[in-house]
């Protein structure tokens, strides 16, 4: 079995600011992937997987000389809606290109054998003009979203981020061939260029806030007159307490909701002038009251840091989980509209 505990801990690149009884963890550097130098020759970085899945890869340039394969492609497109997101059931062991991110770069880049998969393959760039996709060869089989795989994806983006502004791809984006990636870069070149420009010197940080719900309820019982009175009524009353309980539950739920909303509003408000943008995502589980991402200018990073720490010490009954820097996952959204010709 894998040992994901250690790798998850190392994912927190910045020591999280922790309050309220959850033990602090140090930001250990992630372990280096085992170098697999002997294997790096297995896949040629710049090559199209030779002789594989030709019948399923109807590149127009190739199609004229391969009428038979072209007909196959047309037929399969007509039969099944999966012409674009195509499953590779027929071609066992064929390889696709896993894409980590898009950057600006004109020259061929190599990042070493740090790719995704049990057997880390070479990570390299595929270019169209001054744009590059950072990719590695990956088998066209199910890529489970295990912590190990997600970490491998992040590790590559972290490496690339040290020198480049990146547009991160979501986990599990695999293209069939190198040509497909070039086509992506070509058709979206203007959008990529624009986004890269806007993301220059920007970093994403994550901030999640958790509370102890039971403690919050106890606070309410002490602070809110109605809730406190009902609580006493329920615990002292000998007869049936059904209606008192129901009313108590309703009041508590509403008060908790209002209180958590107030916390979130205050925290967001305090961080507004040190961040470029923020995005609030759905909380995970019932302890989390805020799950937000912030886009920060590199030159405001220290200020943002300090602000998070000061908020965390002020709201000392809340637990803050602070992570980053990440590539701007939450702040870039590129949609490609695809249609049948």
């Amino acid at each position: 079995m894998r040992k994901p505990q250690a790798s998850v801990r190392t994912a927190v690149r910045r020591a999280p600011v922790i309050k309220g009884g959850v033990k602090a963890k140090t930001a250990a550097r992630r372990a280096k992937p085992a170098p697999a130098a002997a294997r790096s020759s297995k896949t040629k970085g710049n090559g199209v997987p030779a002789g594989r899945d030709k019948s399923k890869r109807p590149a127009s340039a190739r199609a004229s000389s391969r009428v038979a394969s072209r007909r196959t492609a047309v037929a399969s497109a007509a039969d099944s809606p999966a012409a674009v997101l195509e499953a590779e059931s027929q071609v066992a062991g064929s390889r696709g290109k896993y894409v980590y991110c898009v950057i600006e770069a004109s020259d061929q880049l190599r990042f070493g054998p740090i790719g995704i998969g049990a057997d880390p393959s070479d990570v390299y760039s595929v270019h169209f003009r001054n744009l590059a996709a950072v990719v590695s060869d990956a088998p066209l089989e199910v890529l489970d979203s295990t912590r190990e795989n997600v970490l491998a994806h992040e590790r590559v983006n972290e490496t690339v981020m040290r020198e480049h502004t990146v547009i991160p791809m979501s986990f599990g984006t695999i293209f069939k061939t190198r040509e497909d990636i070039v086509e992506l870069l070509r058709s979206a070149a203007e959008a990529f260029g624009d986004v890269l420009n806007k993301m220059q010197n920007k970093l994403e940080f994550g901030l999640k806030v958790l509370w102890d719900r039971d403690q919050a309820v106890r606070e309410l019982e002490n602070e809110d007159e109605d809730i406190g009175r009902l609580k006493k009524e329920i615990s002292s009353q000998k007869g049936p307490t059904y209606f008192a309980r129901m009313q108590y539950g309703r009041l508590v739920d509403a008060a908790l909701q209002a209180r958590s909303e107030r916390y979130v509003a205050e925290i967001l408000d305090e961080l507004r002038d040190v961040s470029v943008a923020s995005r609030v995502n759905k909380p995970i589980g019932d302890k989390m009251i805020m799950n937000a991402a912030f886009l920060i200018s590199r030159d405001r990073e220290t200020a943002f840091d300090a602000r998070v720490k000061s908020i965390a010490s002020r709201f000392d009954r809340l637990t803050f989980k602070y992570t980053g820097p990440w590539p701007p996952y939450n702040f870039v959204n590129i949609r490609l509209k695809l249609e049948r010709a």
């Binding site: 998850v8 890869r57 195509e86 912590r147 986990f171 992506l184 992570t323 870039v332 695809l338």
Partner: protein, 101 residues
């Protein structure tokens, strides 16, 4: 911690036309399961479940995701005579711009 979040957000989406949308809808159907994975990871971090329990949950959830998605990895291809890119829309932060292509 919480690194799996990035499973749920991503910078590149492919919007398919109606005929192609069915395939996509099917492959997008695992959001709830992915959220379960996130929650399990959070509970592990908070010490509410053990590593072993997490591994068990992870195995079960991934198994169910695999059932939904089928046993094949979807690979994206743009190099087809039948499919072409008809539009690009890029959003950065709260700003919207359309290269209109």
């Amino acid at each position: 911690m919480f690194i799996l979040d990035n499973l749920l957000v991503g910078s590149l989406q492919f919007v398919l036309d109606k005929v192609l949308a069915a395939a996509e809808a099917e492959s997008q159907d695992d959001t709830a399961l992915r959220e379960q994975l996130l929650e399990a990871q959070m509970r592990l971090e908070l010490g509410e479940i053990t590593e072993d329990e997490f591994v068990q949950i992870e195995r079960d959830v991934l198994e169910r995701i695999r059932e939904i998605k089928g046993n094949q990895q979807s690979a994206i291809t743009l190099m087809s005579d039948d499919v072409r890119v008809t539009g690009i829309e890029a959003t950065v932060a709260d700003e919207l711009f359309n290269p209109d292509r």
